[in-house]
Symmetry: C2
Subunit: 338 residues, 2 copies
Amino acid sequence: MTSADVAHRAGVSTSAVSYALNGRPGVSDATRARIQAVAAELGWRPNSAARALSGARADLVGLVIKRPARSLGTEAFYTDLIAGLQSGLQEQHVGLSLLVASSLEDELAIYREWTRDRRVDGVVLTDPRQGDARLELLTALGLPAVVLSNHPSEPGQAPTVWIDDGAVTSTLLEYLWALGHRRIARVSGPEKYEHTVRRTAAMAAFLAERQAPPAQVVATDYSEGDGARATRHLLSRRKAPTAIVFDSDVLAVAGLGVAYEMGVSVPRDVSIASFDDSAMARLVRPRLTTMSQDTVEFGERAARLLLRQIDADGPVPSEQGPLVTLSVRDSTSPPTSR
Amino acid sequence: MTSADVAHRAGVSTSAVSYALNGRPGVSDATRARIQAVAAELGWRPNSAARALSGARADLVGLVIKRPARSLGTEAFYTDLIAGLQSGLQEQHVGLSLLVASSLEDELAIYREWTRDRRVDGVVLTDPRQGDARLELLTALGLPAVVLSNHPSEPGQAPTVWIDDGAVTSTLLEYLWALGHRRIARVSGPEKYEHTVRRTAAMAAFLAERQAPPAQVVATDYSEGDGARATRHLLSRRKAPTAIVFDSDVLAVAGLGVAYEMGVSVPRDVSIASFDDSAMARLVRPRLTTMSQDTVEFGERAARLLLRQIDADGPVPSEQGPLVTLSVRDSTSPPTSR
DNA sequence: TTGTATGCGTTATCAG
DNA sequence: CTGATAACGCATACAA
């Protein structure tokens, strides 16, 4: 079943078939329709290897995750993201190729190789950093990309699907503030990530605006151990915070465990909230108050944007991600004066 | 940078290059060595599209996951598995293509398409069922495959990497039995999966051997809601079980939540254990006693076996998966006579 | 043992 | 608007 078969059956040449099915000029509407009908009837699909070889599409997009392999499963984020990307891609018969890299050098090498071999038509970038070396390389390579980010892209750079971390932070703090919390601490992710920095800035601005003392922020590497340590540190202080916000729900659940062990009751003695939502936040007791985002939807949007960018001649504009909403559960309450 | 470049630089023909680098006869050891040296020096890697087109490798293997997209992230299993597969594949510069299918028909169609287009060199199958239609199709298509299973493969079928669910079940029950538990219930996964059936059989055999009454088994669809319902049902019975084993840690944590809400103390009033381990099992309080398996390692082994099967002429033998060990934590204790 | 020629299925160029 | 024809990079049967 090749394009030659389709051409033969439709009584045209293979180039006519190519033109007709790639929607480009060079063929009359009538023959185009006939060719499409024949192709559909024969169930023909272009051979992707041949297409890639002849310089067109590979019908594959890539995702490189730079995290230690063993820690990946801890967070639901990547799985949800992958599921969403997949779903958005499948509509166009485009596959997803996955790679776990252990270093930035590896990641950059992979992009070079993919470009050289036309292995993928584009890539999805996560965890943008400040002055991200990947963006530079990708524009140099001319490899289409979208970034899961927290702001629209700079002109000339790959478009982003973005969720405004500043607004998300304010929403959560607003809620805690309204409950009466004034000493709010934070257990954050690594400072090298843009979203960590954004949240820190938003939190500082929020508190400054209200003449509240600045928040104590303890950075972690997202690991459960670090989360536990940070929480232990915060709860041991002379004037312990009445509320702690965690950058991920793994950190938050680790913090919950520490509170339990220290005999600190949640939410009576300390309120706990997380920026990340997942099944785990709903499963633990008390259930975690979180900012919930639909990560699957996030992935779907990224996939569609990437496909558009691949098809487009010039740069396509960035796009806002799904809404993030506050899910109030059982881990937060007004502070009790101790 | 093509094989012609390498040939030119080494002063040989492209066919010599092909022979030399694919390790097949038709070239002397001396020239083979020289060609390899030149290829390494030039950093040449074969273009995968061209290889796929000319009937050789696509340097890509596929994984189809048949689960609803939104429920994927709930369980760490797939993420860990993907990370492991990736790691085992990367050693040979083979990529992983991922697809989430919503029905068996979709899944089968994908295998057909992948075969027709030589898009992948092989596939990894999870969640084998009894009389699995996929195995039949894959042998018919001649598409190499490995199955993540609980027993060695039938002769003539795709090899498996297998973990003996019967033994795992016995180990866990042995432990609970030694603690003194006699009324042990189980919250299981769907009965259509082989591993569910295996565990049920193993549990029945274990109890029968000790003249204990058969266990009450409540099947679920692996969802948190089903897990909560099942647990509520079991704990409401006249003679409630003193221990409950759960087929996954999501189910177990859901059960833990129900116990908490019903005022049933864990492990004092009921012991809880899970067949699945993940970060969540360690994060919740009380920490869950589980059977822990290294899923990343499982994936790595599957990847290596698949690569061997792809290279091999005939069928390769099945292989045992990583050891599953009991991790005793805080959710189990001897039953207290109430 | 080595080189030459052809095919894989598509896209793209360039005459008609 | 259409139909030959040449790449694309590799593998391989075949001839030297």
